[in-house]
Symmetry: C2
């Protein structure tokens, strides 16, 4: 398998973009990535999206986005893995270039969610869970995460405000990201006073949805000059049961553990070598679980990293450096590609006020469902 | 890119399977393919599906199907390309094995459509078209195909009954396929008397939906002994504009032409070498267009092959030898994998009453949307 490098990146703001269709948003990111890569075309396009069939009455995004982006007629594929659709599309694009089938590809993640009323969006998001054995019991997707968080607090003795640093750090970092959905800081008091959604998850534990797209341009690494290339050094995907109640240990993200371990192996590194970690903070509890399963904290101790201020850009393991899902926003199928784009920005040194000093190795982890599909990617500048 | 071979196949009947969930149907095909391959597991699974999010409230099929099939925890990816989802998933699986990332993979196409009322299914199928510029005008997916067929008849002077051989042949072949949805023969009179759906497409021009799944087990070709291997010799995907009105020549399937040409090039063959061709006869007009764009007939002359009886198993270019979409049935996201399975059956000599004599090279062509995404695969026994 030949190594693959990222040549260009592109993104759109995350917001309520009512004046644009899903094709417009996706194409804006693609065109930005083309410009950033200094290319005019690509041999294939891979699209990460979860809900366009439900929320936009639009499937078959492949030819649509290819056409609208000026790539009419080429190879185009859509990949879906719930909230991990973006990283799954990135991995599919990697395979195509790594196999030698394509010499260049664009991966774009896109979601347009704000045209529909909230109850429809909630129902659409719930399709990430087990329809027959979870949804039919009346639980929502946030409800499932709330069950995990409540059990975690009970099991390991944390109180709700201990999770605040994940949200506070994300909001602070997003101030420096012009593409972010939210541009305001929050305090522990805000966090504690925020409206309850599904006990113990309140509004500031949860990430906001939005309309947005992010894209990367990938090529064989051998086509670039060594030195400042952004190499994809590790790519791994693992799954768990879709329903939480089928797991022997529901407080441990087994799929995160497996995919991180495999990505570390491929890259020849360990958690201690990771300079920046874009994790999947859809809810604050997921930040803790992701840090634990990926080897940055002992089981049940992920929360402590936040309390110790180790997750800020100058900490031991900087996370959500561009705002994360919490403040940059979570346009579901796009999120995994935003994470990759943001790791590239860190490795290029383009992050200004939230730049991690001398970042050379970065990791992105994208979670689909309540831990059912987890992809880990490691990028290196070299 | 290392060559890939098909080691095992599996399928389910296509019917109204109200007693089974989508996970049951998919898993039945996967387990059948595992048995057929003589394997107990696979490193990855690729799932082709179009509408589970809309019709089954179930996205994220990757971990669900992996788990239910006994492959809990492995790499699992879902691919969507409307009616071409099956072939698109097959191509993604190919890349993963060809790249060296995986040593084995299962590709399964699945759709469960009959639990919902017909108007919901019609709306779900319509998401294969352009939501903003076709659907918003009030046209259905069959309506779009009807526009193409009417123009074709006008342009090239064919009458409706000239398309009958495509449907008659498919029904005759399906009699020999125990998995087929329909097991009755039809006549030209039946064809002409059938209920109109969207002029000029009537019920017997159109393929029936259904619940079903098909699967293949793929491995590196180098792991098998030459002689009776089923090699994937050509794999290509091409797209066109999603909306028909954006095409300069709406009566020519440009994406079929491109993908067939590339698959021929990879396989080192031409149309004259193809012993069996599983084409995408969602509507009779699509059979004609597919034969023309793939080099089996001059433009505007595809219908003649049916009238000349050249499409039966002993004809010049046998098509729909197991019943095709018309009579085997069209469980949308599964169809592309059924086609691959059926070509394998032909190359193995397992087709009994519809066996193509000495079949050695077979082709499958899967169409998503009204010609927007078209994948062509060529298999060789060697």
């Amino acid at each position: 398998m030949r190594p693959v490098a990222i040549l260009g990146i592109g993104q759109t703001i995350i917001d309520e973009q009512w004046e644009k269709s899903i094709r417009d948003i996706a194409s804006e990111a693609v065109v930005n990535a083309l410009h950033n890569a200094g290319r005019e075309s690509a041999e294939g396009i891979f699209i990460g999206n979860m809900m366009s069939g439900i929320l936009n009455s639009q499937n078959n995004l492949g030819p649509l986005v290819a056409d609208w982006s000026g790539l009419r007629g080429g190879d185009a594929t859509k990949v879906e893995a719930a909230c991990a659709s973006g990283a799954a599309a990135f991995r599919s694009g990697l395979m195509a270039v790594a196999s030698g089938e394509l010499e260049s590809a664009i991966v774009v993640g896109v979601e347009k969610m704000t045209d529909r009323p909230p109850h429809e969006v909630t129902a659409a998001l719930a399709t990430a869970a087990d329809a027959d054995y979870e949804l039919d019991m009346g639980v929502s997707f946030v409800g499932l995460n709330a069950l995990i968080m409540r059990r975690y607090m009970h099991e390991y003795g944390w109180k709700h405000s201990d999770f605040a640093p994940f949200a506070i750090t994300a909001h602070a970092n997003a101030l420096h990201n012009p593409y972010a959905r939210l541009h305001h800081t929050i305090t522990v008091e805000d966090f504690e006073k925020s409206a309850m959604i599904a006990t113990p998850i309140n509004l500031l534990d949860a990430s906001p949805i939005g309309d947005g797209a992010a894209a990367v341009y990938i090529v064989p690494a051998e086509s670039l000059t060594p030195g400042s290339r952004i190499l994809v050094s590790g790519s791994a995907s693992a799954t768990d049961t879709l329903a939480i109640h089928d797991r022997t240990e529901p407080l441990f993200l087994t799929a995160a553990y497996k995919s991180a371990r495999e990505a570390y192996r491929q890259a020849g590194v360990g958690p201690e070598d990771i300079d920046v970690f874009e994790l999947h903070d859809a809810f604050t509890i997921m930040s803790a679980l992701s840090l634990e399963a990926s080897g940055f904290a002992e089981v049940g101790r992920g929360v402590q990293l936040g309390l110790d201020n180790e997750i800020c850009p100058t900490g031991r393991i900087p996370v959500t450096t561009r705002g994360g899902l919490k403040a940059r926003g979570h346009p579901v199928g796009a999120t995994g590609v935003y994470q990759i784009v943001e790791v590239v920005q860190q490795l290029r040194g383009e992050c200004g006020g939230t730049q991690v000093p001398e970042a050379r190795i970065g990791m992105a982890q994208n979670i689909g469902g309540s831990g059912a599909t987890i992809l880990t990617h490691i990028l290196k500048r070299e």
